[in-house]
Amino acid sequence: MKNHTSAQISINKLTKVFGNDGRTGELITAYEDLSFQVSRGEFICILGPSGCGKSTLLRSIASLEKASSGEVQIAPSDSGSESNIGMVFQERGIFPWMTVTQNIRFLLENNPHIDTHDIDSIVDHYVSKVGLNKFAAYFPHQISGGMKQRVSIARSFANNPDILLMDEPFVFLDSQTRTSLQELLLNIWQETHKTVVFVTHDIEEAIILADRIIVMTAHPGRIKTIIDVDFPRPRHVSHMRKTSQYHDLINTIGNMISDEISDLMPTLNTTGLSG
């Protein structure tokens, strides 16, 4: 299945240079000469320190940002129509003026591929899937950060995208909440097998979630290496953490990017959000 013909996303020599900042006339390269493919149904993690342009790359795939050179090719969906892309943002991606249910509904109502009659049942299904039944009528400011990201995930999966892009969705959550949301994501993904591109700077998160990890360097962002993660699915975070394979993989990747990480440790701590 993971061959070139079934590639759903093909990135070819993609480079993004931000224009000068006006005063110095300096050009800032976000990422440079990226080439990789994502197969249909594959879960890819892009792992890199902040400043490696990984979020910008995701925005380029989503057509929110135009690359400077190279190309992004998105294969048509199974039905032959243009692929439907979904995105989960770092935080605040859900609308504060809509309740939990309304946030999910709103996207579905604007999706021409979803039958109006099905919307109610889809919304109900995903609200309970992410465990927010009791909070369905709550506004975002009344629920916790973890719950907001549950809404964000529910909303994206409910919309039935062909490709789901996730931009460090758990970065602002405490580690317990993060683990439970990773479990939730694995669980929903297991049922739907969407093509996912997930950006993170957390090695463990990448190992837990990904089929393949694309490790990036920083300043400018280039692909350092691509690692296959051979853990069987369905996966469970707690089980994985008990295996030596898991810890070996952390060490392998850790060593591989230790030079990057040690260079970037200070920046990671202070500005670690803009990746």
């Binding site: 929110l64 892309i85 979904g86 605040r92 609308f95 003026w97 604007n110 975002p140 400011h141």
Partner: protein, 251 residues
């Protein structure tokens, strides 16, 4: 409980001091009649003098002008917020005309629209329009980019984007404009009635000054104050209802 009572006690206390000062002769009652005398006048004398007609006349001018100005301000503010070219075309005109005190163009408005109700409605509308427009535009600008991104990724239809994202996103700022505009509208309606009117609260106040009917003048001032209080309260209640997601506003 304590903090709920204070807002009621303090004005009563102030009125009480005024009453005592007036009665003991510390205040000259020709200029500062006792509050009890003013309220007596307002309730028993002013209706005979036709204050109800004055109130209705002012309310009529105020509400039509306010509604027209606010609606136009919201529509143009959202449109300018959505369209760069429209903003580029209109913003300089707004920036040039906004600082002109609106009362300064009242004679011009009266020249164009006559000395009847229409010129007063227009001047109230103009004043409200600018305040609501500028705040609406600010509200649209303040909507975070992430919501634009979400709508772009999920291909949200344009009318849904405007009605369900831009409008609610700008609503808190729009309400700031609406609240400023109601205060400004009261100023404009009273000022416009000082000249070229034959009824209205502004007319009543000016008339009372000319005839030295100090108590009638105070009655008019009190009515304007009460109107301002009621409208602010109504807008506040409306805001709570329309913006349940605003932290601190929802109950």
């Amino acid at each position: 409980m304590k903090y709920k009572l204070i807002p009621f006690i303090s004005p009563i206390f102030a009125l009480l001091i005024w009453e005592i000062c007036a009665r003991t002769g510390i205040l000259d009652v020709r200029f500062f009649p006792a509050p009890s005398a003013i309220f007596y006048h307002l309730i028993f004398v002013s209706p005979e003098e036709g204050i109800i007609d004055d109130i209705l006349a002012s309310l009529n001018r105020l509400l039509w002008g306010y509604l027209a100005g606010c609606i136009l301000g919201i529509i143009l503010g959202i449109s300018m917020g959505m369209s760069r070219s429209l903003r580029a075309a209109i913003y300089p005109i707004i920036a040039l005309t906004y600082p002109i005190p609106k009362i300064a163009i009242l004679p011009l408005i009266m020249l164009v629209f006559g000395i009847g109700d229409l010129s007063k409605i227009v001047i109230v509308a103009i004043g409200s329009f600018f305040l609501v427009l500028i705040n609406t535009l600010h509200g649209v600008d303040s909507i975070e980019r992430i919501y634009h991104d979400v709508c772009a990724v999920y291909k949200i239809k344009r009318h849904n984007f405007i009605l369900k994202v831009i409008l609610p996103g700008a609503l808190p700022a729009i309400f700031t404009g609406l609240k400023l505009a109601i205060g400004y509208s009261l100023v404009m309606v009273v000022a416009s009635e000082f000249s070229g009117a034959d009824k209205g609260i502004g007319y009543l106040i000016w008339q009372s000054w000319e005839t030295f009917s100090i108590k009638s003048m105070y009655a008019g001032i009190f009515v304007i104050g009460a109107m301002g209080f009621i409208f602010s309260y109504a807008l506040h209640a409306l805001e709570r209802r329309l913006i349940p997601w605003k932290p601190g506003v929802s109950g």
